[in-house]
Symmetry: C2
Subunit: 297 residues, 2 copies
């Protein structure tokens, strides 16, 4: 499969199938196809049998991970083609822009999966904390799932963008008064912040049995007062990507709702520059690399 | 209702009904009856309508809470009788020892409710952290629900007692090697510790989708690293008491399984001494006051 649009850092890949092995049944040459964070797992453990390969103790990550077949490490989408077992290859709906589809394979599934797991549906009130690569997908999914979406951001200048992406309301989280207005009202909050932040301020916004799921991973442990969880029987959880069946479900959902990530497409020659911008959060909202640019090397 | 056995601090009450109002249908004089942490709520909010009065924003606590009817504050079970609306009075199975039944009204329901909420059943592996008033009830319930029960304690000398109460295994939590053996294996952990402790050490013991529920409330916030929750899609939650219907369910369950708390029965004259012992955790596992002793005042 030629890898057309992997993201920086190479674990979100879309392209077209060029060749299939003799036992392949899911794909034929010419099909649009995608590969996410995983390219292999043991396929026999209870997690794999449940279609939750992301929890397999023996999975092979797409990028920078020991390669069981070739030795060395996996290089993901930094290549003009990639060989992957069909179990770990997804179908991409034809109506989706390919560059914008690539980030669905990690940022997409990472935000879609916990929303499905914790029951985000029409009529639920959903918060999204942090409007970056993950957060902006969270807003699109929560909106498409029919929820009332509130974006929490430290940057007042992100307000217009949040509304454009599908938010019904935007709260500047540094404003304690604005935060208090939402106390005890959220069914679900997706926390996509990887910087240190006051998690209890968000726990207090959950209603009874509400859940806040971390998809960003701050370096330092979060400070969680017990009472915020006890009153309201609230829960704090985390979630990685999703399994292969759910990743396909997510792509199909994106096809039906015409959802892709907002991307800045770059040639491979600008990857270091893009990385530096990414570290400074200066990207709206994901870089997608056009690997046709490899040919001009 | 005469209050025969309230616990220290007066919010776990059992006794016999002496008199009922003309519109009372659930009780008649002579019935065994119990009152827990709540004596009133607004009865109209969605929580009350769902039988989850513990989350009513307008509930009246049994002890040391503004009394809407008489003014002043509520005094709970420190009395030879108490008047309570039948909605907040529970039936006590006749086979239960009354002194041991009193703590079911708070320690009992506080540990039973999260186990039911998070699906503790036969075949599940359940941990109980801390073997005190709450923890010892957690062990009894988890065992009666059919789970494989592991008690975590900092005191090796509690081992025999934990096994007697129904534990299948006892882990001394200061022993990192013993802890590691259980990594990724628990469906549910009940954390009944109110001192500061390393919550991540227990989060690491949960399997995929496992939950750890706090019923103790350490004074300082707990330090929760995001990755412990993200890998395994684990959750950390809290839980207070239960609603009235579930409290009755718990008492009926105790009747069916002959479960009561282990108590030390004291006369009211020893209440201050008992309080000092309680602060030092020197009680197995709850003090229950025999209020017949009030008559000798």
């Amino acid at each position: 499969m030629p890898t057309v649009y992997p993201c920086v850092v190479g674990h979100e890949i879309v392209g077209r199938v060029t060749k299939v092995g003799s036992t392949v049944t899911k794909f034929k040459p010419g099909d649009l196809a995608a590969v996410g964070c995983m390219v292999d797992s043991d396929r026999t453990c209870p997690e794999c049998q449940a279609g939750l390969e992301q929890f397999c103790p023996n999975l092979t990550l797409t990028y920078n991970f020991p390669d069981k077949h070739l030795g060395g490490i996996t290089y993901g989408g930094y290549s003009d083609s990639v060989v992957v077992d069909e179990r770990f290859v997804l179908h991409v709906p034809a109506n989706l822009d390919l560059a914008g589809a690539a980030p669905l394979l990690c940022a997409g599934i990472t935000t879609y999966s916990p929303m499905r797991h914790w029951g985000v549906t029409k009529g639920k009130k959903v918060g999204v904390v942090g409007l970056g690569g993950l957060g902006h997908m969270g807003v699109k999914f929560a909106h498409a799932l029919g929820a009332h979406v509130v974006v929490f951001t430290t940057s007042p200048n992100k307000k217009d963008d949040a509304l454009r992406l599908g938010a019904n309301e935007v709260v500047v989280s540094r404003n304690a008064g604005e935060m208090r207005k939402h106390a005890g009202s959220f069914d679900f909050i997706l926390d996509a912040v990887s910087a240190d932040h006051d998690i209890d301020a968000y726990i207090q916004l959950l209603r009874r049995d509400g859940n806040i799921t971390l998809v960003g991973a701050p370096e330092k442990p979060l400070a969680v007062p017990a009472f915020g969880l006890i009153f309201g029987r609230r829960s704090l959880s985390g979630s990685p990507i999703g399994g292969i069946p759910e990743t396909q479900e997510m792509l199909d959902f994106c096809g039906a709702h015409n959802i892709t990530a907002d991307v800045e497409v770059i040639p491979i020659q600008k990857v270091n520059e893009a990385y530096e911008k990414l570290v400074k959060s200066d990207v709206k909202y994901r870089f997608s690399i056009d690997l046709a640019s490899l040919k001009s090397e």
